[in-house]
């Protein structure tokens, strides 16, 4: 509440502090939704201009959405106009008139808008073409779909990835989804797109060659299971039937010469290699041990399959990470950026260009942030 308000609130002192006091100090305001934070922010901006002699062009006011930024600019304009209409002193009038002249170009925007402003001022320092185009949500999605098609094309055409693609296929890892209703590696691609600046480690990884399928543990578990089956006392038992099914099935896998086929069979059949609580205690010397022996075969097989899946996923991830990073660099070179690119490239600009840092430092004396709670890691770092 301002001093002219007829109401008196219990936190009037705090509100006054936000609006008027310590205008050259850093201030952190915490308040609930709907309590008037944005109002206080507007008042503080206007007081900075009117009372602290700060040019509006030297203030960066950052908020979370474009609509909020437009509204904030409008509210500041309205507040300044009202001050002008309220018979101010000559000094205040001059400050208000200067603010009205500055307001259109003032840095009142979203964080992405602020990044765009900085990048537009120094494009060549980050190898951006002079005119940057920001892809909206629809255009970004279309561009992503095109990029994804290229990734899949490359993956399927690169002679070095033949084994990788075929293993993915054998292990039922959907690289390119046949149906939008089915999860696939494309979902990973979408996540990578949104955090491409955090892929450096993955990009730098050198993937080990795909290991040969090692079924020794399965073979060993099968031997143990066979041994356990000898503890059967009475042949008419469902656990014994199950063990025989498992034995036949595992033998087929072990006898298969083609590794891809082995993996495929493991993937397809090993989920059924389990005792499922079958077996009557009285028909076994130790039914629990017998069940465990059957289950151990399935577990060993599934472990082999899991290991193979992890290996394939890691290699695909590395390739995708490199592709995603390259695509981001391509967007930079083409000057067609998405929202995340803005944050990353602006950060890169400030890290690498002393000229840009100096310009930013010289231009902005004050930084005000609205909705600080709605930030992701890179935004938070940016704001710090």
């Amino acid at each position: 509440m301002t001093a002219t308000s007829p109401l008196t609130l219990v936190d009037d002192d705090e509100r006054r502090r936000v609006e008027m006091e310590g205008l050259d100090e850093t201030l952190f305001v915490e308040a609930g939704a709907g309590t008037g934070k944005t109002h206080e922010l507007v008042e503080r901006v206007v007081n900075l201009v009117v009372h602290a002699g700060v040019r509006l062009s030297a203030i960066a006011a950052i908020t979370f959405t474009e609509a909020a930024a437009a509204e904030l600019r409008d509210r500041i304009r309205e507040a300044v106009e009202k001050r002008l209409a309220a018979d101010p002193s000559a000094v205040e009038k001059a400050a208000c008139e200067r603010a009205m002249a500055d307001i259109d170009q003032a840095a009142i925007s979203t964080l992405h808008g602020f990044c765009l402003r900085i990048l537009s001022a120094h494009p060549l320092d980050v190898d951006l073409p002079p005119n940057v185009e920001i892809l909206d949500e629809v255009a970004s999605q279309l561009a992503f779909e095109n990029r994804w098609s290229r990734f899949v094309d490359d993956l399927f055409d690169d002679p070095d990835t033949e084994e990788l693609v075929l293993r993915a296929w054998a292990l039922d890892i959907e690289v390119d989804t046949a149906s939008k209703y089915k999860a696939s590696f494309k979902d990973v691609a979408a996540i990578f797109e949104d955090s491409w600046d955090r892929l450096d480690l993955l990009c730098a990884s050198v993937p080990a060659p795909l290991a040969a399928v090692d079924l020794r543990a399965v073979s060993h578990a099968l031997s143990t299971m066979r041994q356990a089956m000898t503890t059967n006392i009475k042949a008419d038992d469902k656990l014994l039937d199950r063990a025989r099914e498992v034995e036949t099935s595992v033998d087929e896998v072990l006898g298969e010469a083609d590794q891809l086929r082995q993996l495929r069979m493991l993937r397809e059949h090993s989920s059924g290699w389990k005792s499922s609580g079958k077996g009557v205690g009285a028909k076994w010397q130790d039914v629990e041990a017998a069940r465990a022996a059957v289950d151990a075969v399935g577990e060993a097989a599934r472990e082999v399959a899991e290991r193979a899946i992890n290996e394939v996923l890691r290699q695909l991830s590395i390739r995708l990470a490199r592709f995603t990073s390259a695509a981001a660099e391509h967007r930079r070179a083409e000057g067609q950026l998405d929202f995340h690119d803005l944050l990353v490239l602006a950060r890169r600009l400030l890290r690498t260009s002393p000229e840009a840092r100096a310009a930013l430092h010289d231009t902005y004396e004050r930084l005000l942030l609205d909705e600080f709670q709605d930030t992701d890691p890179i935004q938070a770092r940016w704001r710090c």
Binding site: A67, E71, D74, P130, N131, F156, S179, L260
Partner: protein
Amino acid sequence: MVVSMQAFGTAQAGQPEKLGHVEVDVVGYGRLATTALARRVAAAKAAGHPLDPITVVVPSNTTGLSARRLLAVGDSRTGLPSINLANVSFVTPFRLAEMLGAGLVGVRKPLTNPVLASAIRATLATNPGMFAAVAGHQATQSAIVALYGELSRALPVTRERIASASRRGAEVVRVVGEVAARLCEFFDEDDLAEAATAHLDAAPEAAHQLGTFVWYLPDRLTPAMTSLMAAALARTRSAGVVVALTAEPTADAAVVDTVRRVGIALEDRDASIAGIQRPSADRMLSVSDGDEEVRQVVREILQLASEGTPLNRMAVFLPASASYGRTLIQQLDGAGIPHNGAAPKRLAETVAGRTLLTALALDNNGWGRSDVIALVADAPVRAGHRLVPSRRWDTISRRAGVVGGLGNWQVKLHQLEATFEATIAEVDQHESEKSARRYAMALDLETTRQLAAFVDRLAGGLAALDQSRAWAERAEATQVLLDELLGHEQGRSHWPEFEVAAAQRVDEAIAGLAMLDGIEANPTRATFQLAVAAELDATVGRIGRFGHGVLVAPLSSAAGHDLDAVFILGMAEGTCPSIRREEALLPDIDRHLADRGELQTQDDRLGAQHRSYLAALAAAGHRRTLLFPRGDLRGRRDRLASRWLLDSASELAGRRLFSSDVAHLPDEVMHTVASYVEGVAHAGIHGSVVERDVAALLASGDRAHHPLAVGDLGRGFTARSARTGPQFTVWDGNLAGQAGAISSPASGAAMSPSRLEMWASCPFKYFLANVLGLREREDPERIVELSPAERGTLIHAVLEAFITEVLERSEGPPGPDERWTSDDRQRVTELAEEAFVVVEDKGLTGRPRTWRRTKTEVLIDLDVFLTKDDEHRRQNRLRPELAEMAFGMNGEAPLSMELPNGRTLTFRGKADRVDIADDGHLVVLDYKTGSGWGYDKLADDPVRAGTTLQLGLYAEAALTRLGADEAEASYWMISSRGKYKKHGYPWTEATRKRFLDVTEAIVDGIESGLFPALPGEYNSFFAKHDNCTYCDFDRICPRDREDHQRATAGAPELTLLQRLELKEEQA
């Protein structure tokens, strides 16, 4: 010359001040300016001979046209007299420079945009400096083109200041300097102006040809042009200036500055413009979004026209960043309102432009199937003398299995051609008369040949472009390519006038590139394409005839118009005024280093925009309407009203208004149209016939029976209403009574069991596939791997051929204890290899890598199958008896079965294999390649509620054919996924009865026209209904299909479906 103005702005009083020989009127825009000009021209006429020359310099050609027309005819309604305009010339400053300076620029050639862009590319290629990473980018080229004019003409001291201010500034100044050095053989508008000025200074009598000189509506000019105007004013014997202001200092600043530079000092500005009121709107409309703005403005235009305002006295002005110019043109055309103005398209978006760019991009895009089809479908592309049948070409390219790449196009089309030729030859051998099928095939063959020839010619055209080196050669090859695609100029005669003109401009743009050889030698293909793209990134020009109908123009061109009604769209913050962005290469911080006015700053641009806006308002003598779009549908956000709109609203409201007030303004200040529906429903006049009809329907209580609700619209209303009700109507799939349109499975030819199975799984699917005959089209280029269906066909083909061969062996098929030999296995592999070639020819294999693996998998599956088959025969004491046992097809008699109701049905089909056991019983096998999911339920219900009829039918057919007593039938899963398992049951009296009961129910259902959709259970994992997950028609079924099913669940007609279910006593 210095003219000091002490008091003016009194044009209304008709007392312009005269100082020296230059008379200056300071007036408002619109009719005030027109009147001042009329008076000045009339005075000049009166002062001398009526045919003495008078030269009026106008800011633009359209302003000149507008003024000339109005002065010539006058306006009797407002007392503006008609003036004799004989020997009165209306010229732009550039034309004035041409008139005076032509022939004075030596042997230099005119500087064009392609030449400038070429010089920039050459400079950046030689010495890119800081631009190294972005030298080849079109945006870099465009940015330097944009600043070149200003910076190359800036004072040396300005350039020095900018160069020393920053590294970027130094680089920009360097590049501009080097480009200028490359262009010393060319002249631009400013060179012409300088030459003209020098000529006037050296030979003042040259100004006499201008006669009385009037500068109408001075605006910002380049320094060279400003000097020319100053010289012309000084050298002519009689001169006048009509200065228009808006009474908004920031908006008028550039005008004041410009006239000051020619020596006219506007002093005591505030007092002097006291007589000019800041223009203001008298009507404001708040609408939901940009599209609604367009619809609303069309209604407003029609309303005014109906009240007597001539269409050519109205204008719609669009801010530069408003993106709905094209929609406006469409709506005006739709309403039959004649219009003229700037075309809302760029050359690249016209038929000729986009065709050329798409063709040039083919090599980069890898000759994608869809890219080539898009090229021919998006324009009247010709193949020889005929228009391309793009839809047929699309179908043929899919059928050929083209997946992309020039070589693939050529190979696949020639393969398809050969297939058609072979099939036609075969048909000709067996058929004496030409059947419809043969005719269709011959047509397809001809189409395939035409498409193949087109692809070859297109490839040839692009190859010729590649083989060219010089600009002139490449330009010529490009023109040949474009003519090949769209025909020569005379072949475009049936095109719309606008497209003909645009195509001509595209031709000119291509020709313009031919002159670049002297500046940039031997461009690469990429550079050439960049230049083409840059040339086509230009506005098309004008549409319509000036003065005919409503003027549709950019807001920036508003100054100088004199109309009755003006509408300004896009009055929201961010659009009007537009968002201001710093220029990257020459930002304001550098521009401020120049002397005032030398380099335009963002404030200057905002001022110019504001001036245009106010001039637009001032242009209307009767109605000034602003439209505010409250929302941005694409951005999905609310918008704020323009502060300039708030100025007008404040005047109407009598108090200062802010954005927060807009939502609560009374109707007399701002009329709010809540939505499209409200706009249509309450419109006094409608923008189109469709709108009028929609309004009538909105007002109707019973829309479905409204006279307008005919055809598809009426059916839509009825469907919507019917589907929510409990009755099982025609809209839910009840075609009872329309049986004539549906062929009964019990009539005519023998029927296939799979069709009946389809009805049992979803009657609506049956309706779409078999009654309407719909099929999903394949995109061959998007196939990743062989489809399950094609894989199944392939395995069937191999095993059919193999078992048939085996049965024909002299020693007969192997017995129960005889294993398949290594030769047998080798033979299966050979047959598979042959089958692979067939699939490859169809183009259905997917990607090469997955196809290689698929082939391996298939070979393994076949090999495992042989091993399993050894076991199968040994355990069950079997030997193969028949392969692909056909009935009702391939010349075999159909299978007849009598239903419980006494009717006899005939079936057709083909069982994959029949084995006979030592004891004489038969085992019928049907190969499947899936997982076998669901077949375990065959044990519960052998026909699975009608969705599995094949096995029983095959068993019955085998018994009939071989005369055995017993039979069993099984699906055999030939895949690792299906674990090579068999799923089946013995064919007994009980299963036979169940089969016949269900079949009878299905036939009854089809014959009674029962086609409800049965989506099944909703599967939260796939986010789909069980029956829809793999259904081709999923996308065309209503989204709320489950609601419809639930709504009609109790309908008596649907009790028939219960006959499919297994009853407890049967189980």
